[in-house]
């Protein structure tokens, strides 16, 4: 993307006013998508975005500037703008010797989406539409989306790091509306992996469409969710968003450093039930949140955050790690070259336990079974978090009974972690997600086995 002599020259220019650290992040992203709605393929869309961001650190201050102009002149101009923050410093000439970082994602892409004819991608949409519509006369609307992206990045910094990555992601989703006596209900299902078009050798879009339709149909007969506290069983693969919100964000070192997390100062303490071992793992091959290097040039890592209920470590980016004199944990990520990196999760999951999933349900007298979770949100300072249930059922007498309408569940992270009293042996990853923090979205994955929380507040409307 950029020749090495240019990188060295731009880094030197960025450091010329006395900065302690400088970094070039260059990105070239190609994307394509196709959307079907109301029975018609509406349009194909293609995109290309290319640019570089220059970061300069001087004392406590970070300067950042970006440009869509990857020529030497464009990069030097951006470096000069970012370096303005260090104007008070000593300066001088410093030459950086760049050393390539060895980082391997451990697998190859089989079929690059750019090599697949557009007509083939479009055909997936019409197949999904046909299957969803045939699921029942109550299915009144179907939309389907295909999207792929190829994001090539290059990171070079004044520590001598030179690293590149080439991330190919492919995504497919189906959304259905079902209409009945009680109004309309929706069902959505998505698959997405960090892989090429071989995604569709592994997953069947027709099966996916059938599941989305079934989810909408099921909810037509759903009753209002209860209000108040009761035990909640989360299904295997239903979505690890529970842990993402209950403690994931609270373990990000930038929030810890600012005193904005209930988990500050708690490393080494028992913060969760002994059944809980939580991992954030950027190396998890082909998962939605995986990469070879993070957006600061650090190879992806598997980090154990909670081991048998004991808090073992936080997640770090370059800047936070540097301040604390330790290595980054490979969690420095950014939405694009237009943003500064910060501490972000990758694939966050709870390790399997030993309980029999059926027994977990059978031993629950009255509660809620959440088969599929939606998104969530957390206030890391208080630990209060919510997450949505997009497919849920009542548990009565140890059996799954009636479907429930959508709603949020609310709880407090540190309390909920202690109230996990059963963890199944049936681990599965959930659907692809996008995590938002301070206005930046990045792809993340999550996973859980079947598990039970002894008490959560169900945000329903029934007494």
């Amino acid at each position: 993307m950029i020749e090495e002599p240019v990188l060295t020259k731009v880094l030197a220019h960025a450091m010329a006013t006395g900065a302690e650290f400088a970094e070039i992040f260059a990105e070239d992203k190609r994307s394509s998508s196709a959307h079907l709605d109301d029975g018609k393929v509406e349009e194909l869309s293609s995109g290309r975005d290319r640019g570089a961001g220059i970061r300069v650190v001087a004392g406590e201050t970070t300067g950042y500037a970006h440009t869509a102009d990857l020529s030497e002149a464009g990069l030097l101009a951006a470096a000069g703008a970012a370096a303005a923050v260090a104007r008070g410093g000593g300066g001088g000439v410093r030459t950086v010797a760049l050393t390539p970082v060895a980082a391997d994602r451990g697998y190859a892409y089989e079929v690059l989406p750019e090599d697949v004819p557009k007509a083939t991608k479009v055909e997936l949409l019409t197949r999904a539409n046909d299957v969803a519509r045939s699921a029942g006369s109550s299915i009144t609307q179907v939309s389907a989306s295909y999207a792929d992206s190829r994001r090539r990045i290059l990171v070079a910094n004044s520590d001598g790091v030179l690293a590149t990555d080439d991330a190919v992601r492919t995504l497919f989703s189906v959304s259905c509306v079902a209409t009945g006596d009680t109004g309309m209900q929706t069902g959505r299902q998505a698959i997405g992996h960090t892989m090429g078009y071989e995604l569709f050798d592994r997953y069947d879009v027709e099966e996916l469409a059938g599941e989305a339709a079934q989810r909408a149909l099921t909810k037509l007969g759903a009753r209002p969710a209860p209000s108040g506290q009761m035990p909640v069983v989360i299904a295997s693969g239903g979505g690890g968003v529970l842990f993402h919100e209950a403690c994931g964000h609270g373990l990000e070192a930038d929030l810890i450093a600012k005193g904005a997390s209930v988990f500050k100062g708690r490393v080494g303490e028992q913060v969760a039930s002994p059944l809980v071992t939580l991992v954030d793992d950027g190396t998890m091959a082909r998962e939605w949140g995986c990469f070879a290097i993070d957006d600061e040039g650090r190879p992806a890592q598997r980090n154990v955050l909670i081991q048998d209920g004991v808090l073992t470590d936080y997640m770090y980016d370059y800047l936070r790690a540097r301040k604390e004199g330790r290595p980054s944990s490979g969690n420095g990520r950014r939405q694009s070259y237009q943003y500064l990196p910060m501490v972000r999760m990758t694939n966050t999951y709870l390790l399997a336990g030993t309980d029999e999933p059926d027994d977990i349900i059978a031993s629950t007298e009255k509660g809620v079974y959440v088969k599929h979770l939606g998104g969530g949100q957390v206030n890391t300072a208080t630990g209060d978090f919510v997450f949505g249930m997009t497919e849920a059922y009542l548990i009565e007498g140890g059996r799954i009974t009636e479907p429930l309408r959508e709603g949020n569940l609310i709880g407090n992270g540190p309390e909920v972690l202690r109230m996990i009293d059963a963890v199944g042996h049936d681990f599965a990853m959930g659907p692809p997600g996008t995590c938002g923090k301070d206005g930046q979205g990045v792809p993340v994955g999550d996973g859980v086995p079947t598990l039970r929380v002894t008490s959560l507040t169900i945000g329903g409307t029934a007494a």
Binding site: S45, S46, Q141, V177, M184, Q185, V262, V386, G407
Partner: protein
């Protein structure tokens, strides 16, 4: 020299040059956008970061034989723009035939010229931006001994320009500037840490009020100490203007041609019928210069206009872009919304609620048992605009016998959008123009289910 020095007229000229390449039987729309933003964050008495960002791009839509294709690029480089036009043309082949597809055409409605550009934003010195961010953090810390710091204290400004031209005769360009202060305060008492946000936004950096943003953030953080869940019950809900804006957005999310035509609006066949209590009147009005969301043109280059959506509780109609209007056999309401990365959607631009007669305090005095909402959480995961199901986490204060009482957290409010609209008891007369552009006011809603202990 570089694209950065083109002025808005030159963006329009670029758009026209590309649109003029339309071949016989082909329509081309070119949307060019450019923005320059800076952001200064203060933390711990130091400048944490200074970011200066410039983004630009071109989105090209091609319609031929009632098929549509689209492509975008994140540059104004004319070689890449030409390749993007070729991509969009190629994509046309795969869109399905739809007789209503086509670009906007001039409809004779005159644009309300708006003066949304303030040179003072562009020329505001970096040192002044830094000083303002540092001052914001300092003032926040000094307001209450329990304030331990901020998560972020930010000065931000932006200058945006957009131009659109089509081979069907549309040519429009506009530019605007904004600047803002925002802060998230952290306050600690014993083992409890609370957060509160404050913001001030405008078109003139000299008019930004550090004290106002700081006081807002600190009041919100410290009033929540001791908050705990309350038992499940049915309550009234008091939404101050910034919270009421959320209700307005949810209420109007499906009042557009696309949702209606695709069977995703619970209000599709309700025009002329009451869908809300008589106290509620909502208008989409991007022509009101009081709003920071005001603009002269929509995303297809048609003049923005005032569109009543709900009057005295009765549904008046839906918002349209040129596609949904053509399909419905009506005129566009100038409601195409977009950036350069996508084709135009349709939606509200500046929601304005008509004021009631009572002031904030008077409205509050009429509440028996209620919740005064300070923040919602999980709006994206707990509100379904198609079914109307509504379930969100809240923190705030209980209202008892007409007065603010103990703080509450870790509870949810549950209802449906349909029921919330019918449950509106009153709208206040406390007009507030919010950062997102909405002309809001306090709204009081009865009969909402609170889920707690």
């Amino acid at each position: 020299m570089s694209a950065a020095h083109l002025d808005t007229d030159e963006l329009l000229a670029l758009a026209r040059r590309v649109a003029d390449r339309a071949r016989p039987g082909e329509e081309i729309e070119v949307f060019v956008g450019r923005g320059v933003t800076t952001s200064v964050k203060a933390y711990g008495g130091e400048v944490e970061s200074i970011s200066s960002a410039q983004s630009q791009g071109v989105g090209i839509r091609v319609v031929a034989d009632h098929r549509q294709g689209f492509a975008h690029c994140g540059t104004l480089d004319e070689t890449v723009v030409a390749e993007t036009l070729a991509d969009a043309r190629d994509n046309v082949r795969f869109g399905e035939v739809d007789e209503h597809l086509g670009l906007a055409r001039p409809d004779g409605v005159a644009a309300v010229e708006q003066d949304l550009w303030n040179e003072a934003v562009v020329s505001f010195a970096s040192a002044d931006k830094v000083a303002m961010a540092l001052e914001l953090e300092r003032v926040v810390k000094g307001l209450d001994p329990r304030v331990t710091g901020v998560r972020t204290a930010t000065f931000a400004d932006g200058a945006g320009e957009a131009a659109i031209a089509t081979s069907t005769g549309i040519a429009a360009a506009a530019r605007s500037t904004t600047c803002s202060l925002s802060v998230l305060a952290l306050a600690t008492d014993g083992s409890e840490t609370k957060t509160g946000g404050g913001v001030d936004i405008g078109r003139d950096p000299a008019a930004l009020d550090v004290g106002r943003a700081a006081a807002d953030a600190v009041d919100r953080a410290v009033r929540l100490f001791g908050a705990r869940p309350v038992p499940s019950q049915t309550v009234s809900v008091f939404l101050e203007p910034r919270m009421a804006a959320t209700l307005l957005a949810l209420a109007t999310a499906t009042l557009n041609g696309e949702s209606v035509q695709k069977g995703r609006s619970p209000f599709a066949d309700r025009v002329g019928e009451p869908i809300a209590a008589p106290a509620l009147t909502i208008v989409d009005d991007p022509t009101d210069p009081a709003s920071l969301g005001a603009s002269s043109f929509d995303g297809e280059g048609l003049a923005c206009r005032r569109t009543p959506l709900v009057v005295d509780g009765v549904l008046q109609g839906f918002l349209h872009n040129s596609y949904t209007a053509r399909k419905a056999g009506v005129g566009s309401t100038g409601s195409a919304v977009r950036g350069y990365r996508s084709t135009p959607g349709v939606g509200p631009q500046v929601l304005v609620v008509a004021l009631g007669h009572q002031g904030h305090d008077e409205l509050l005095a009429g509440v028996g048992t209620g919740v005064y909402v300070q923040s919602f959480s999980g709006l994206h995961s707990g509100v379904n605009p198609v079914s109307g199901d509504f379930s969100v986490g809240v923190e705030g204060l209980m209202i008892r016998d007409g007065a603010l009482a103990e703080p509450v957290r870790e509870v949810t409010l549950g209802s449906t959008i349909q029921k919330l609209l019918l449950g509106v008891r009153a709208v206040g007369n406390d007009r507030e123009w919010l950062p997102g552009g909405t002309g809001s006011a306090s709204i009081l809603i009865d009969d909402v289910r609170l889920s707690g202990t």
